[in-house]
Symmetry: C2
Subunit: 426 residues, 2 copies
Amino acid sequence: MEESATKKPHVVIVGSGFGGLEAAKKLAGEPVQVTVVDRTNYHLFQPLLYQVAAAELSPADIAAPVRAILSKWRNMEVILAEVKAVDVEARRIQLADGAIDYDFLILATGSRHSYFGHPEWETLAPGLKSLEDAVEIRRRIFMAFEYAERTTDEAARRAAMTFVIIGGGPTGVEMAGAIAEIAHHTLARDFRHIDPSQARIIVIEGSPRLLSSFPEDLSASAMKQLVGLGVEVRTGVHATNLTDAGLFVGDEFIACRVKIWAAGNNASFVGQTLGVPVDQVGRVLVNDDLTIPGHPEVQVIGDLANFTHQTGKPLPGVSPVAMQQGRHAARNILGIIDGRKPERFWYWDKGSMATIGRNKAVADLRFAHFSGLPAWLIWLLIHVLFLVGFRNRIAVLFQWAWAYLTFNKGARLITRNFQAETRPPT
Amino acid sequence: MEESATKKPHVVIVGSGFGGLEAAKKLAGEPVQVTVVDRTNYHLFQPLLYQVAAAELSPADIAAPVRAILSKWRNMEVILAEVKAVDVEARRIQLADGAIDYDFLILATGSRHSYFGHPEWETLAPGLKSLEDAVEIRRRIFMAFEYAERTTDEAARRAAMTFVIIGGGPTGVEMAGAIAEIAHHTLARDFRHIDPSQARIIVIEGSPRLLSSFPEDLSASAMKQLVGLGVEVRTGVHATNLTDAGLFVGDEFIACRVKIWAAGNNASFVGQTLGVPVDQVGRVLVNDDLTIPGHPEVQVIGDLANFTHQTGKPLPGVSPVAMQQGRHAARNILGIIDGRKPERFWYWDKGSMATIGRNKAVADLRFAHFSGLPAWLIWLLIHVLFLVGFRNRIAVLFQWAWAYLTFNKGARLITRNFQAETRPPT
């Protein structure tokens, strides 16, 4: 770093998810100049995204403006821009409109859902990664009930009231539970020609059990809790084709209007522009210190990284991994500036959890497994704690309490894209 | 009403704004069958729409699902549909997908902004009528600051930091005050290359004074309060042309990226399908009992109605007029069913108010005029009272209190239309 004597090293962090934001916070006030680049202007609390899709929360409840989070540190700059590629030799990031040079790079552009070679399924079965995804899924769920209320075609009505979630991981389980509560409670009295509680909610999971990354007893418990909510769970089967009218599970056709994709992720394409090996889903094969081969000034973290040096398998794509890696990457940079070598990363796994509904969840805290109400209370506590720093913490708690007490989903707005219909983007 | 002996008369209310919703509530539990038709699934509290545009509130804070409001009364049905025309002879409403027959009709489809023969200006200067409008205006305001932060072209930066509001009525004054507060307080510390407080905010008003429907002393006060916020006000001038790069005010060109339209309204086209006389902006010329000529079973209310029988001039397009007319129309229907004639409508004008910013407002309560903090407190009180029935009342109060204490605008999300870019609507 020949510049470091005269000028502070420039650290660029691409992505303001859990990993990127933690890295930025760790570098706040340190002797580096930091630029955070993201294509949205907010940090998204993704674990609650399904609640936006279910109309229990509003987008602003789970998103915080990145500028506002970082504005108090003068060594932080935030840029709203789309990254196209990284030129590791030139130490330069290509943006859709311009370029940024860096001395150190932390790449944290995350993942999006993957359709296993069927990109055309995306319009048929949206996934749940962004606020736009969540609002679109919300629109489809509530419009399906509106359509069912008005149609006089009995088969069309049944299809409109059949909801299929493809994928039985945490997101799929959360979505299924949330739709079940909408159908059985929120909308129970609102219609005149349909009974929303007659809605069918089906989860399709390719592996032999739900939540396959969880211990078996918790998978079984999640299954029992979901079935208790009236959800049909089909394990060991795959969606083989999707159409407007429904989907095929092997030879069986299930007529359904709303399909939600919760089955797989692909890493962001930016990782593939580094010129180093990536795995089948595009994750960068990182060294044990999170750097990439030949470039100690470049670290890749979070969902974009494939880190196998601890367990022999890739670490899971969950927020604790991303956050710990973000802090580690920041420490590595400060170490290099002080003349040390990057250190090996170790993930401290505190466990995992998935929520299913009111009083319903599973939690694997390593030392013990919890189900039902205790797991749900742990889930609630952890999520409130992690919302710390969000001004919306109290507002979200209030919304939850209200929704819990009244079964009323107040954010139930179906917004339409008038912009899309009448106005070109500026 | 030959059916009334055997079957309850069918009242159709088109539009769930202030007028339509009041009419529906008045008919709740009465011996009529009511169908409310709207193309959105929510009632919008329009007076606070500018706060969504200014990112002080979220869409869900000021919108309430119509089904949830009306679901407890069994004689109420809600249909989400787009009305295309009314066939008054057949007593039938044509929908985009179907038709509904009525015995009585209350038409309350409101108005949208009008561009005085320049529909191509709509994309250049969006107006503020719907949630979609508000989110789009919010996006443009915040993207302008993002653009200004990144551009190296000084003229482009100045244009991005110039905001022009066309129209100096209540909406224009509210938007101008809100943008001034965003620029001077909310964003004050968030950027590194621009000083948001250097933003220019300009209000263009064609008549000689702001708030021309208010008493002169309050217009003067509003002017003083706005200027105190750093807003430039130009009265007696018109926008003569709009372009991407800015707008012409007479011969002068003002380079500006964001233009907001608050200048005029056109009534909904549905009124023109009734086959009775309408005024220049499409409002239906109603009888003194709100019915239309030759059809005592059809009443037109709110922004869609031109009611001149009280003052010789049309009543203003404000929510109290719509609400009083909604209740009156409902009473008229119940009277006709009881064998009485429709009664004459009288508007009870309790005054009007406009807010300008923190502690800043004007209020004309007929018996006295208020400005500044007293007017603002009256505004706050009235708006909280009228949010009654909204579950979000406490949440909105909380948001306001928070924003007031911290100058922090938490709903500051720039959401993008991924749907528009990648997915066709279903």
